[in-house]
Symmetry: C2
Subunit: 135 residues, 2 copies
């Protein structure tokens, strides 16, 4: 454990070897875990400047704005970091229809592991993905 990092007010974020830091997104109002993504320094800067969540896509290797296509934008309420300063928590106010997940659900975490299978715990779709992502 990094004893100096956990009780300081000095901002000293630790990025991994790819220049990334994990970002956990929760609903500022009810605390629901909405999604998980990675940010780089630029994503953090743009998020703070604009007040809207931006992430770094590891597969596409680009900065992306959450909701750019679907309209499911996240307004930033606050950005927290953890004791080791190597993880972020984004507390957000979802705009649009409140579906953080590209499947149209409120949260990306809608299935639980049950035995060797997955079990759906939320099947309510707040938008139709076929429509929301039509170009």
């Amino acid at each position: 454990m990094a004893a100096k990092l956990d009780e300081t007010t000095a901002l000293n974020l630790k990025f991994d070897e790819h220049g990334l830091i994990p970002a956990i997104v929760t609903d500022a109002k009810d605390g629901t875990l909405l999604m998980f993504a990675f940010m780089n320094r630029e994503a953090i800067d743009v998020t703070r400047e604009t007040g809207h969540a931006h992430f770094y896509s590891r597969s596409r290797k680009v900065l992306w704005k959450k909701g750019e296509t679907s309209g499911e934008i996240f307004a930033i309420a606050s950005i927290m970091t953890d004791c080791d300063q190597d993880v972020l928590q984004l507390k957000v106010t979802p705009e649009g229809q409140g579906a953080a997940c590209h499947t149209g659900r409120k949260s990306c975490f809608y299935r639980k592991i049950a035995g060797g299978k997955l079990e759906f715990t939320d099947n309510e779709k707040l938008f139709d993905p076929a429509v929301a992502y039509r170009k």
Copy 2:
């Protein structure tokens, strides 16, 4: 987006190039984000077998049981995965004194970014780290 992974009941977790998967730990009762760690296949198996959260330490390169030293054990309520099956959410019931963080706080996320600094949002220590981690 992995279209096939997001609507299936088939369990097909995706591990990264190091054999790890991020695990977000939330309080099963009130949804509070408690901590973040990584799991490997063994950590998942042991967690499911024992009903207590185990993680993989990237720095020490070992499996570790949450609370082994501090007594702050996590009983598993359920394990969720996300649309892409490359992140886990552990919904847990904290045992011990309810301090997930090694600093003695309920959550590892107790500081927010404010300007170029960090600001403490929770300074309540549920245990004294100097005592809890004394060997």
